[in-house]
Amino acid sequence: MRNLKMKLNTENVIGIGLFLFLFIYPLFVTPYQILNLSYFISMVFLTLSLSLIWGYGGIFSFGQAAFFGVGGYFYAIFTMNSGISTITPIGLLLGVLVGGLVAGIIGYFMFYGGINDVFVGLITLCITVSLETFMAQTAGSQWKIGTVGLGGYNGINGIPTISLGSFALADVNFYYFILIVLLVVYIGLRLFVVSRFGYTAIAIRENRERTKLLGYNVPRFQTLIFALGGALASLSGILYATWGGYMTPSAAGLTAATLPVVLAAAGGRKNLTAAMIFTFIYYWFSQTLSASGNEYALVILGAALILVILFVPEGIIVSLFKLGDNLFFNRKKATQVKAEGEFT
């Protein structure tokens, strides 16, 4: 464990500010807005999972939506079959493990088979599409696991919320639960990426061959980080399922698979905080636009994505962080650079 000392820079200040804001946010707004924000937070885990494996591990995946679906469906089937509310936290933990396990198995076959780069993206795309296609045709009554029908395109309804003992997490309680989970996961990931394992992952991202020659078992690290990403995506799916009480194939489908890629890329994939903040901005923006009935919402979002990639390729939030660092925390260096005439 190195680099544990927290640096004072824009990213950390904004990160702390964001969490403080999220903790006091329910005091000022309506229950409806809290419900919305709970949904945004559950989707943040999905972006974080992709930021971890793509931004840090260099593994480009369209499969996060599939693991999202695995988690959500597993939780639904497990808890609804048992029918006891106290079992839901176990369902949550098991679901995360199952998501990680599925990702680990897929990762094992891919990385030990020597598949890399864009082909990982293509295989995971296939997996996501086949899962969506499969789930969408399970409408008939013969598609049942235990007592729960899979429901085809309409998915599963009436998924129970998480209960701690007899205390059901709903509304504001659910919001705080999910926020605390986010805080724990976020801090865990920030520590993880500066651990030995995290540095190895970055080394693999930068140069696979060289890392291998330095004596690291590259496929093992790739499989592990892919499994970790799968577990995170699965967590996201479970929280989404408990949030709305439903899980549909389209939530784990092709469109859902591209969204985290876009969010991580546009926010800044090599930075967890940036990916998280951009996810909030995106969902808030798209919800505001569609709630106001603006049919141009998707057009504006599409144009924004294109402009971001063309003009700030490393991510819009990351660029803002750098600007902030130069302005507030690194005044000496900024002026020095300017004096040397290298200011670009």
Partner: protein, 291 residues
């Protein structure tokens, strides 16, 4: 006779896979750009064809109009956006996804949720008691002719020579005096025009709506994955193999298992041959020449 049904089904699936994939394959193989807006380009072609036939243009002309229109649109998109992304595969994914969002939502705003389509032309023929759509049989031959034209274009013209050189080693091609940026632009335009052609060809057979392209997206990606980087050999081989698998599964168990079969084949092929069929063929070819 089941054999006629199987042949018809194969012709139908083969032409669908080839036509939907060829534009994508050319852009991916030549430029390394994964065009997620491919489905929307096809949708645009279908709209041009439907609107043109509705205003009295004969169908064959309307289909060519779609190819030309989407080709020009592709050139504009390339000049404005894609030419800044050459060699940045992953960024191109994000950008083309943005383009596809704008296109499908833009068409929804302009033309509403669906367009009144025309019925499938040419009627049907009956062989051994079952009837088959003539138009869909014609599509099979159009697909074959199109592969032939592409073969001629890439193997027997100056454009083909330059573009193959650019594909193999773009910096060396550049030093030999080929304007590689222009080659990329032309390639992108060609890929877009082929997508428009596909949209035009399938416009009379399906309901034309802003989500028209999504029916093509999965089969086209699977065909390109299985085929690999070579747009001609790879696409025709994988179209053939996937067409056979798809048709047999379609007839045995229905359309859904046909689609699932495609994905399973894709996963198996990519595990065994990471470079797809074109990788396999190129390896054999190299060995044959003793290189």
């Amino acid at each position: 006779m089941a054999i006629f049904e199987l042949i018809y089904q194969f012709m139908n699936n083969f032409s669908f896979l080839i036509l939907s994939a060829v534009g994508l394959a050319i852009i991916f193989g030549m430029m390394g750009i994964i065009n997620l807006a491919h489905g929307e380009f096809i949708m645009l072609g279908a709209y041009i064809t439907t609107l043109a036939t509705a205003s009295g243009v004969p169908l064959p002309l309307a289909i060519l109009l779609a190819a030309a229109g989407v080709g020009v649109f592709g050139l504009i998109v390339d000049r404005l956006i894609i030419n800044r992304l050459y060699g940045r595969t992953l960024d191109s994914v994000v950008v083309t996804w943005g383009i596809s969002m704008i296109l499908s939502q833009g068409i929804l705003i302009i033309f509403g949720p669906s367009l009144e389509g025309s019925s499938t032309p040419l009627g049907s023929i009956s062989i051994a008691g079952a009837t088959y759509s003539t138009y869909r049989i014609l599509l099979f031959f159009i697909a074959i002719v199109m592969l032939g034209i592409i073969y001629w274009l890439f193997m027997h013209t100056k454009f083909g020579l330059y573009s193959r050189a650019t594909m193999q080693k773009h910096d060396i091609a550049n030093t030999m005096g080929i304007n590689t940026n222009k080659m990329y632009s032309l390639t992108f335009m060609l890929g877009a025009a082929l997508a428009g052609l596909t949209g035009g060809l399938y416009a009379p057979t399906m309901a034309v709506s802003p989500t028209f392209g999504s029916a093509f997206l999965m089969p086209s990606f699977v065909t390109v994955i299985v085929g690999g980087a070579n747009p001609l050999i790879g696409t025709s081989l994988s179209g053939g193999v996937l067409g056979v698998v798809n048709s047999i599964l379609d007839i045995l168990w229905g359309t859904f298992y046909g689609r699932l079969g495609l994905l399973v084949v894709a996963i198996i092929v990519i595990r065994l041959l990471p470079l797809g069929f074109s990788g396999l063929v190129e390896k054999k070819l190299m060995r044959g020449r003793g290189i």
